[in-house]
Symmetry: C2
Subunit: 445 residues, 2 copies
């Protein structure tokens, strides 16, 4: 554990709260404006945050009527944000299920070069049947198969990123040489699902390759994180749970032969920031009251794998299917199930509780209280940093940057200025060197 924590701003539409876009503090039309997202990146950069991040889905899902998330593809949008900023990291979610490794590795490498080494990839396997239907699948591929494909996909992508050694480009006009062919390698991958010769057609960036991020919390998900992830987003409700998860993923990283500091654990937090705790709770309630129960019921139905349409809001959840039957997001299912039984919540309670961050922890209070909370988690070894999920935007981000960050800085818990130029650097990692360069330099096998 380092002495300073890391902060990622998870950007979503006009805020993470279910009903954000109906609240007067937001302007829903912003979701259609690239300039708005550039402005969010600049706000986060003003706060010296490590990175901004977009989730992604390959379908409209159930969100045509009621939500405002899917208006841009993340990599193209982050490219526009890259040229509006200088320091902040830019993390795109992209699916291993429905891309070709060559294409995705290349788009991310291109973003990485455009941004000067600030790109990251949140690796997801995609859990929606409606996504599968856009790519020729009659149903969602099963959980184990998705993670097998993800493993092979990341092997190919990382090999492609290594295919250009850091000093391969020579650009020697006198001899006419662009790159040294001895430093550009084919990858010659022949696997179960992919056959890819390489090399990639984008030279490596200042950070060597994009930062690898992951957010699956199932057993396979955590194994995958231990093997590959350099940052992990996760929904954790309490410090003891957070500590368990933290130790668990770090142990898997060590078991995979990595140093435990090479993977940063970032639980989510949805902060309602106000001048008093009571005002924070009032603000949260204002948002809760704007939730459309009908739409929220549909969302909850998806999480628990039971169609809840028509159920009364004051009733408890009906019996749920066993975990093995859940082909989608297993860990979110478990979280909701545990929460409902532990706190004896009705369906209506659950909807309010999940409204802020779909299961992520909501904290309402003064900037000091938020900072105290983050410090507690950090010092308890439950987090290396946080995935900050502003309930409404841009206000919730502006308040965090202008009111919470300065407190963390005053306490020595957060950088007061950028000291590194790349995303890997912000997260305390060295530039990635690549397998071929390592051999040549004799640093390892």
């Amino acid at each position: 554990m380092s002495s300073q924590l890391h902060l990622n701003a998870f950007l979503m539409g006009v805020g993470h709260h279910e009903a954000a876009w109906r609240h007067p503090r937001t302007d829903a039309r912003n979701v259609l404006r690239a300039g708005y997202f550039q402005e969010l990146a600049r706000i986060a950069e003003r706060g010296k945050l490590d990175s901004v991040f977009f989730a992604d889905l390959l379908s409209v899902g159930s969100r045509i009527e009621r939500n405002t998330q899917t208006t841009f593809e993340p990599i193209t949008l982050l490219s526009a944000m890259a040229v509006a900023t200088e320091h902040i990291g830019l993390i795109a979610t992209a699916s291993t299920g429905y891309n070709e490794p060559y294409n995705l590795a290349r788009s991310l490498a291109s973003l990485d070069r455009i941004s000067g080494g600030r790109a990251g990839w949140n690796i997801v396997t995609s859990v929606g049947a409606d996504e599968a239907a856009n790519f020729g699948y009659a149903e969602l591929p099963d959980h184990a198969g998705r993670y097998r494909r993800a493993g092979e996909f990341v092997e190919v992508a990382t090999a492609l990123w290594d295919s250009w050694e850091p000093d391969a480009v020579v650009l020697d006009a006198a001899t006419g040489i662009f790159a040294d062919p001895d430093k550009v390698h084919t990858v010659d991958h022949v696997g179960e699902r992919f056959t890819v010769r390489g090399p990639l057609n984008v030279p490596s960036s200042a950070q060597g390759r994009p930062l690898l991020v992951q957010a699956g919390s199932s057993e396979s998900g955590k194994d995958f994180a231990g093997r590959w992830a350099e940052a992990v987003f996760t929904a954790q409700r309490s410090i003891p749970e957070g500590q368990d998860f933290y130790r668990d993923v770090k142990a898997r990283a060590v078991a995979a032969g990595r140093d435990q500091d090479e993977v940063k654990i970032l639980p989510g937090i949805v902060p309602f920031i106000a001048e008093s705790e009571a005002a924070g709770r009032r603000l949260e309630r204002e948002f809760t009251e704007l939730i459309s129960p009908e739409y929220a019921l549909r969302q909850l139905s998806q999480m628990v794998g039971v169609d809840l349409t028509g159920y009364p809001l004051d009733a408890p959840l009906p019996p749920l299917p066993p975990l093995e039957k859940i082909q989608g997001n297993k860990s979110r299912y478990q979280l909701v199930k545990d929460l409902a039984s532990r706190e004896s919540l009705t369906i209506g309670d659950l909807i309010a509780e999940l409204g802020g961050g779909r299961g992520h922890r909501t904290v309402a209070g003064t900037p000091e209280q938020i900072a105290d909370d983050l410090q507690r988690w950090f010092e308890a070894g439950a987090a290396d940093g946080f995935n900050v999920m502003p309930p409404y935007l841009p206000g919730g981000l502006t308040d965090f940057v202008d009111q919470v960050v300065p407190i963390l800085q005053a306490r020595g818990l957060f950088r007061t200025d950028y000291t590194e130029t790349t995303l890997r650097g912000h997260y305390g990692l060295r530039p990635h060197i690549g397998r071929y360069a390592r051999v040549v330099a004799g640093v390892g096998g």
Copy 2:
């Protein structure tokens, strides 16, 4: 034919000439800088050009040692250029061979929204075996199969772009409605190669959908252009040849039920601009002398389908394989073959002749002479406009914009300011309305 011509700037590395990056007028390091490409877009916009365009390959090809083309993926790069400009169109090449229609349609739609309706797609089937090898193919899929796939691909992509009617997004905070579900349609495509449910998860842009561009000149390529293309890039060596091609593609458009004005024909031109014709020729020669014969021989070998390594430069071409054997770029093969026999060129002559624009027409002279040349082609009905391929960058583009464009404007042949906001608008096309909206409005079937 309209009374004004269209101009596209085909951007490639530090210029189209084979040896551009060895010439003192260029700085080869620019190919690694996104800011350089933003600057090129701003120069083109200063000249009120219709669009800028990037070619693309899904491999490093033979270009690791000797060339500087493949440093960014076009769509991500154009996104960075979109936010540095306000008017100019942004055309990305992307392959129908090695993408999923949902992903590509989405990235282009995202670029289209980021740019406010300025995106275009140069549709290619990809002709390299080294590209195929990055996507699991042991060899290049055959020509006919590639065009069949392209046809189905474009059907799916255009259906996805139509899936959001222009007024589908309502963003009504009071009722909680983001989009009107009756105006967002599934596409339910079930075809030979693709099964895609839709809808797309990006609403339609100000121009309805990206401009469709095409550059294949084989029979299947021209049929495809007639059916789909709104702009066609082509290599034509003389006005009579240009007229034939022009009439041919327009006739195919009409045969496909379209208006002949719906497809603009843009032959390529590589202009060496100088204060006199002699100075223009001297400048061209400077570049020719910097060509690496070894590398140029490899390029020529690819074009003609024969390995010419070791052949003397002063010898004529050996007998070439018949057209049917060429699985790659058939029209470029034909062009080179005709050129060599018609003008009795040696291999060395061919290398010099092709060095400027790989078969595209080179013109050296004063700004007036270049303008005269363009006017002649335009008024002879051999072109609706031109694909301007500066031999070196940025100088060759700056000279064109500052010296040739004003002459065309003074003659009434080119716009003096943008009158439209979208790429389709620049090319004289109305916003695309989409199949569903048409039915509702009763404008057609």
